[in-house]
């Protein structure tokens, strides 16, 4: 039997194939919706005080706004790409030690008036 000039086997492969893709990902969704609950269950039994504190800190700071995320992402990107502001890349100050010479001495460059 053919529908739209495609035989039934092709339709079967199409429908079963797409459904299986959905099924595989729905199973993953189901598992990962429940994994946090399972993990919480285990933690409840032997949660020490410090861990509890940590948990509260983490939940307190959980919210990061989109702007902040973008700023952090940009900073990391620029850091890894080394794209900071345009600089000459010379960031050290070279100290040049000159040996003493009377020619550069201030005292000889001034007129000495007799007292």
């Amino acid at each position: 039997m053919t529908i739209l000039e495609v035989n039934t086997q092709t339709w079967t492969i199409t429908l079963v194939g797409w459904s299986v893709v959905f099924f595989a990902l729905v199973v993953l969704i189901f598992v990962f919706n429940n994994v946090p609950k399972l993990l919480k269950m285990n933690f409840k039994k032997d949660k020490s005080k410090t861990e509890q504190e940590l948990q509260t800190i983490i939940t307190d700071n959980k919210y990061i706004s989109g702007d902040e995320t973008a700023a952090i992402a940009m900073a990391i990107h620029m850091f890894f790409e080394e794209q900071h502001d345009e600089e000459s890349n010379v960031i050290t100050i070279k100290r040049i030690q000159k040996r003493y010479s009377p020619w550069s001495s201030k005292i000889y460059g001034m007129r000495n008036f007799p007292n």
């Binding site: 739209l4 000039e5 495609v6 035989n7 086997q9 092709t10 339709w11 492969i13 199409t14 429908l15 079963v16 194939g17 797409w18 299986v20 893709v21 959905f22 099924f23 595989a24 990902l25 729905v26 199973v27 993953l28 969704i29 598992v31 990962f32 919706n33 994994v35 946090p36 993990l39 983490i58 959980k62 919210y63 990061i64 706004s65 989109g66 702007d67 995320t69 973008a70 992402a73």
Partner: protein, 424 residues
């Protein structure tokens, strides 16, 4: 004085070269006549003229065909797109150069071409033909992908599944156009928007169409920023494009480690034929997330994937030898490929709008992220981010879009596995 010496040295070298030419061309004559019969005279007495004739018969100019020129222009266009517009340069530069290499005219029979047994290019092409390179690319992708956006909002995986409509719709379309089921399956996978998966599946199901399928898949992947925005604007009303999504929750390290392990076991039990692809993808992610194999993860996501990308790109490009590539079937494949990309994008977008009907309050999703259900990572997510910023400069959708994007990779690999098990 020095000038005089220079002149006499040049004259001496010229005489020596002439004498050498005489001898060498005599030898080339013998070789050419022996192998191809291109030049009639044999032996050293053939002299410089016959030598030059023989040399000419071996040049690309003598064996030139207009189809080679067409393909060379295509190759140059790919390189131009990559350099000028920055469209997937890591893929288009190797593929474009590969197209140039594959379309240099030559005399067959001297182990030069990619389709000649024993040639260097054919050895490099072996990894494509046998489907070795795609799983290694997946290993690298796994080692560089952060699944946390997916773990924090698992329901977005549905968008990755919905966008696989492109694969199956194209499979139907290709069957209706008279391709065999195997060929149709290989063509359909272009809709998965995943180059390595397309190469893997076509190597298994329809090796003779692999060049066209790979080129179509990679060129449309590079053209994601051109193909997707008009479809997004067509299917999503302005008001919905500005929806702000709830920030994703923080994901613990244990969840990140569990994801690839559970994902590997579950998806491969459902579609074992996808083992080389999904197995390597999740293996790469285990290397990354375990935290104890940083060296291996680093090699997978940098050195290894770079080497494989070079080999894959240049050999896939070289496989487009004009006499094999320029056929009506290739044109049909390009048409179907474009259609499959559009259908896949539309599938994700429409499904996202349907999902919104069932979601309430701030759980609603921005339907534009449905477009990133096609697995062109991270290009389609980037397109969604840019589109989002056009309507609200503070609406950053990148992280949200990455969830359907990476689930699209999983979905297309599962789809490839299913087609493989039905059609092999």
């Amino acid at each position: 004085m020095e000038h005089k010496y220079r002149k006499s040295i040049v004259a001496l070298v010229a005489v020596i070269l002439l004498l050498t030419f005489q001898a060498v061309f005599g030898w080339v004559d013998a070789w050419a006549a022996d192998a191809s019969g291109a030049v009639a005279s044999t032996g050293a007495e053939g002299g410089a003229l016959n030598g030059l004739k023989s040399f000419w018969s071996f040049t690309g100019f003598a064996n030139f065909d207009i189809s080679n020129l067409v393909m060379i222009i295509v190759g140059l266009f790919f390189i131009f797109l990559a350099i000028k517009y920055d469209y997937e340069p890591l893929l288009l530069v190797p593929i474009g150069t590969g197209i140039l290499l594959g379309n240099i005219p030559f005399v067959e029979g001297y182990n030069i071409g990619i389709y000649e047994e024993g040639s260097v290019m054919s050895y490099l092409y072996f990894g494509v033909k046998q489907g070795i390179y795609p799983p290694l690319i997946f290993l690298g992708i796994g080692a560089m992908t952060d699944f946390s956006s997916l773990i924090s909002n698992p329901k977005l995986m549905l968008l990755g599944a919905a966008a696989q409509l492109g694969i199956f719709a194209t499979f139907l379309g290709a069957s209706a156009m008279g391709f065999t089921p195997q060929e149709a399956g290989a063509i359909g996978i272009i809709g998965g928007a995943d180059g390595p998966t397309a190469i893997f599946l076509s190597a298994m199901l329809a090796p003779h169409l692999m060049g066209a399928i790979a080129i179509a898949a990679y060129s449309y992947m590079a053209l994601v920023p051109v193909i997707q925005p008009p479809i997004i604007r067509l299917l999503i009303p302005k008001k919905e494009r500005a929806i702000k999504m709830k920030p994703p929750r923080a994901v613990s390290k244990v969840e990140k480690i569990l994801f690839p392990i559970i994902g590997l076991l579950l998806t491969l039990f459902i579609a074992p034929s996808a083992l080389p692809l999904l197995g390597m993808l999740f293996f790469g992610n285990i290397l990354k997330e375990s935290g104890v194999t940083e060296r291996l993860a680093d090699t997978s996501r940098n050195a290894l994937i770079n080497i494989i990308t070079i080999l894959l790109g240049v050999t896939v490009g070289a496989s487009t030898q004009a006499n094999v590539f320029l056929t009506v079937d290739s044109l049909k494949i390009f048409g179907l490929g474009a259609l499959s990309f559009m259908v896949a994008t539309a599938g994700g977008l429409i499904f996202a709008r349907v999902m919104n009907l069932f979601l309430k309050g701030n759980n609603k999703i921005n339907p534009m992220i449905g477009a990133s259900g096609v697995s062109a990572v991270p290009d389609s997510a980037r397109v969604v981010q840019q589109e989002g910023l056009k309507y609200d400069t503070s609406n950053h959708l990148l992280m949200h879009a990455m969830a359907p994007n990476v689930s699209g990779v999983i979905g297309s690999a599962v789809g490839a596995g299913i087609l493989l098990s039905f059609l092999m």
